[in-house]
Amino acid sequence: MSNLDFEKFQKLFLQEANEQLEIMEKAIMQLEEKGEDREIIDEFFRMAHSLKGSAGSMGYTAIASLTHEMENVLDKLRNTPGILNDDMIDLLFISIDTLKHLRENVEKDLPESVNPEIDHLLQRFQEITSPDGQKKQKAVDKKLYLTSQEFKNLKEKDQEKNVFLLCFELIHQQEMQSMVAFLIFNNLKDEGEIIKTCPPHLEEVEGDLPFFSILICTEKGREEIGKIVEQALDQEEYKIFPWSEIEKGEAGEYCQEVKESFARRDESRDSIRVDIEKVDQLMKLVGELVIDKERLLEISKGIKANSRDNPEAQALLQTIPHVDFIATELHESVMDIRMYPVGSIFKRFPRLVRDISRQTGKEVHLEFSGEDTELDRTILQEVFDPLVHLVRNAIDHGIEQPDQREARGKTARGSVALNAWQEENNIVIEVKDDGAGIDLEKIKARALEKNLVREKQAEEMDRESILELIMEPGFSTSESVNDLSGRGVGMDVVRTNIENLDGEVEITSEAGMGTSIKIVLPLTLAIVQALMVREKGNDYAIPLSAIFETMAVNGKNESDLIKTVKNREVVIWREQVIPLIRLSDFFQMGTSCQEGFLVIGGVKGRMVAIMVEAVLGEQEIVVKSLGDFLGKDKLFGEIPGISGATIKGNGEVALILDIQGMLKSFKKGGDTIERQSISC
């Protein structure tokens, strides 16, 4: 193997190992929660096995021998149900951590030494797999898992044939129960198509098997199938459910619909691995294409007017809309490649929650919803750390100790939920707990103590504004300093990180009931629809998602539209009074004109009217940053009211207005507007 090949293989190995370790970790959590489950153990086994294989062929002996021992334990677990105990779970957890560590060493090109710690681990494994493992009865998973797709297929099949779920509980037969299952399986096999069994691969199971189930699709009726079954066992030892009853009542105990990914990972659709850099490069090129496309559209406007008789020009004019279409489609396809389900980061949380709840002595149940919601991969990566912080906070500060919870009439076990969903052009990720909630009075007191607000201000603040205080730099309500939530840095960092992604953080909390923190993120950052406007010869883009309406202002309607309240100009729009920002004033570019256009926009329910000289039209824009020197924390600093830049059809740069930033900056420097006299 040449060096180059080796590097390539190593990269692949590291990538795969990462995924395998994640799946294994998830499997342990599931085993811990649900007890022994054949399917989970099988998957776990497969992952350990393939990691062993690839580590072995790469010459990483420590990883290979550790996974080998894990495999043995799992195999034992498969063959002797009921032996899973906490020690085993802990040992498996430690092994995963050790494997992660070993993997990192490989990544850092460090020698993968077999240290005493690993020897000790291997020894503990061997103790378990040695013949004298204790036997302890545990509940078995009686459910047969069907993917949504299988569910759908079966529903269709049931139209023509009969689908039955047969559940067996062996009472009389105590010896070689699996042979009874085999006999029944074998007899039924000839009567129709056996879709699935619980446990899976029923025909291969040996030993005790007090319960099993078979899902069959057959032309025979219920009675006939019953007769065949009764050749092997008695009536009271089995139940038969037709498909129509499967989704309700008793059958539900034995059959469950699950997400595709849960049911079987290795049966996933065809896919290839692509380096994210290549996708980014593709994205950049598509961005360029979109710019050129806009340029073409602009040129074609010029051609249209003065080339009615030129057939070539006409042909060009017919081609350009198609290029427009293709470029848009291409853009969407590339965006789609970058999309990743949020479940890919959610799955890292069970472990974290487990660790934190152990450390804090709190009992926490973690729930998920919307794991399939997709988000741009880059954004997703950036969101992980803030989410970790929020989840830590929820357990550390939100969830109460079990006895406290019970005293308050709650379940001893608290709940933390990670939810995700799409809301128009935004993706919302919520961290919700049913803990103590946030004490508004405490926050006020704290903010006063830290001089974040003045007393008078604090009195006037509404609920929302008070909650927002916890995201101010230097604020912390944590009474104890610990290694879980750090020293009260955090919420401000969370907010900064999310705002850097063009997102927002929303907090709602009910004392005694719990807290919900929502991270609202743009679906994608790269290309958006925007309204182009002009002021003092400069073009600006305003994202359409922030615009409600545009209105022309002239001498006739000016006095109706624009009023002055307390020295500030406002616009009356749909019976709302909204502040007016004249772009020239805001940007300190000289006096604003009286005639032009009002762009009514708003973010998060806060409205603003922006006065500009001209509206140029809508356009697709590629969102770019202001470069390496302009912006928050960069050499030349932040530019208030500007969130980025885009490139116009003519190759020049247009700045993108940041409505939210303008509102903020406007609020802070309220005098800016009062100072300007309105004359033109």
Binding site: N538, Q588, L626, G627, F636, G651
Partner: protein, 156 residues
């Protein structure tokens, strides 16, 4: 061997003095007229605006203002020198580009204090070449956050 290390300097005029930058730092030179600079409101005073450099947005800074020199307005000789440092690009406006000068590294001396009107922080040395004094700029320092305070003061 006796052979001295050669250095190529792109030299230019700014407020009556001659400056040079290492050619390896120069990405390209553009006429001011041929590019449209987009004004960036409320940016530091020396920031002329931003331009599109093959798809990336880069700032153009008025070098005279950056150095705090009293400089005349731009004309048709005005050029933008796009320099790069650590893969970051920035355009610098100068009054006129002179030539590319081949000098031996040893002719470059430590800048004596008070040699120029500009802060010695921006200067890496003085090239004494055929009775010409060329002030060699330190691009790295020009693009470094040394004078944050000063920058924000000049933010109007």
């Amino acid at each position: 061997m006796g052979q001295n290390k050669q250095l190529q300097l792109v030299t230019f005029q700014l407020a009556g003095e001659e400056y040079g930058v290492d050619i390896l730092k120069v990405h390209e030179i553009k006429r001011l007229k041929e590019i449209g600079i987009t004004y960036v409101p409320r940016a530091p005073e020396f920031v002329e605006g931003v331009i599109n450099l093959r798809g990336d947005v880069i700032p153009i800074i008025d070098l005279g203002k950056r150095f705090g020199l009293d400089n005349q307005k731009s004309d048709k000789e005005t050029r933008i020198i796009v320099v790069k440092q650590d893969e970051k690009y920035i355009g610098l406006t100068v009054d006129r580009v002179n030539e590319v000068l081949n000098v031996e590294e040893e002719v470059i001396e430590e800048p004596p204090p008070e040699i120029s009107q500009i802060d010695s922080f921006f200067i890496s040395g003085i090239a004494n070449y055929e009775e010409r004094l060329v002030i060699v700029l330190d691009i790295n320092n020009i693009l470094s956050p040394r004078e944050d305070a000063e920058i924000s003061k000049s933010t109007r």
